[in-house]
Symmetry: C2
Subunit: 281 residues, 2 copies
């Protein structure tokens, strides 16, 4: 596994692969890897010849009062996991390599980014889209894989690729869960034992939504209301930030529920903000 | 010369060139080509194996009261000029091919774009950066050539390439002038005979600035003031929008004048808005 830290070395590596007809697969991450990330790498490897993973904790997607400085990091462990997963190039740029001090160009979005996580995290998706656009130009992937856990991010990346015509195929991989149903996240490490138990109700609320959809007859508002009731009753330590029932592509609210509809939520569990979602089949 | 109108055909053409080790050169235009454009094509051809020119009158860089509908067009003449200039691929996308109806992702800049033309043309540079980012992803050029006539645009494109890490080399070509000194522009066709005579004073004001810099001793404010006086005296039909004396890279105002300083102006001549500039050596 090559470990690369400069943009020019990364671009040279991808250019060399393309020249020999190889397809480049890419998984961008913020490190502290878990099985969710590894599932993305496995999918990328199936669709490419050169597998590139980036690790960069992107400061521009954190708000001023968010957890940038506390965000968990373990590069030695991440390197070993990447190696075991067959990663060919691990790209770990420094912050100064990533952002010149007088950076002033950004990518932003005006519709899908406004609600859900965007409503509470001003500037978050501008930071995400900008860093992903940069990474795409650095890695020049043929295919890139993102996780469905970050459903709004996945929809926005697909919109960016469409609207800015990036020559990259996007694949979105299913959420990987702990055996008890908690969606895997680097931020789960923040949870106390009690919070960990309370957090399980997020997925249970989504399962409730799924069963109500299966029974038929309910509109989205009634389903969201039942989810809120369940969480209020069973998990008083969970403070719901939003429950959104939206079209999975446009992220606009829908009344009727069915295939192609996304049920997504964010909640504060203690000091930890967690998200989870369910894509209706 | 191939004439291509879809994004997928354009990307396929560039990919095929890259696979055989060819370098792709690119000149984006809004058509109604003049010798300025042809000089860009000649430079691009010197640095590439496959020369791509795009013609697209980009609606998102025109304000609501600007000249989008009147902008001059002559595709038959443009095609002949491209052919005679050795263009390999002429890319002419339709507006619907370029912009899905629900486009919502854009590229913008927060510093260099605020003054000069950006102050009078709100949203103009967002439109320019977004369409150029899209064209870069469609054409995948190794080298792209822009004209110094649009000095602020050229600085912004270079900033975008740096900040978003586009793997594209940017070359900026000198202004091409009519024999009497008027900077070539597709918009010159709007000028009446009298306006054409008045417009010559724009370049003369820049020449005055150059000679004052050569003499030494004057600060930028005094030079701009002399330029305004000259225009007010000799060309009363020229309404100056701005005279900017700035660092050519950062576009921030400077007091001292010398190498690397840009003297730029915009003015209304009748109903026509013209720009011109001088890069001090």
């Amino acid at each position: 596994m090559d470990i690369v830290s400069t943009v020019s070395a990364m671009q040279a590596s991808s250019r060399a692969a393309h020249k020999t007809g190889q397809r480049v697969g890419f998984v961008p991450t913020m490190g502290f890897l878990h099985e969710g990330h590894l599932s993305l790498m496995n999918i990328a490897r199936q669709h490419s010849d050169l597998l590139v993973v980036s690790i960069f904790v992107n400061p521009t997607q954190f708000g001023p009062h968010e957890d940038l400085s506390q965000y968990p990091r373990d590069l030695a462990r991440d390197k070993a996991l990447c190696e075991s997963c067959g990663v060919d190039v691990l790209f770990c740029p420094s912050e100064s390599e990533m952002y010149p001090l007088d950076s002033s160009v950004y990518v932003d979005e005006s519709r899908l980014s406004c609600g859900m996580c965007g409503a509470a995290r001003s500037g978050h998706f501008r930071g995400v889209l900008t860093v992903v656009a940069k990474l795409f130009n650095m890695v020049m992937p043929d295919v890139a894989v993102f996780g469905q856990k970050d459903a709004q991010q996945a929809a926005l990346i697909q919109r960016m690729v469409r609207d800015l015509n990036f020559p990259v195929e996007i694949r979105v991989a299913p959420i990987v869960r702990e055996p008890d149903g908690l969606a895997m996240s680097s931020r789960n490490t923040y949870l106390s034992a009690d919070e960990r138990v309370q957090a399980l109700w997020l997925n249970r609320a989504l399962q409730l939504a799924e069963s109500r959809v299966g029974e038929g007859g309910l509109q989205s508002a009634a389903i969201a209301s039942e989810m809120r009731d369940l969480l209020g009753r069973e998990a008083p330590g969970v403070i719901v930030e939003y429950i959104a029932i939206v079209d999975a592509v446009s992220l606009q609210p829908v009344d009727g529920v069915g295939s192609g509809v996304l049920v997504a939520l964010a909640a504060q569990v203690g000091k930890t903000r967690l998200i989870d979602n369910l894509l209706l089949a």
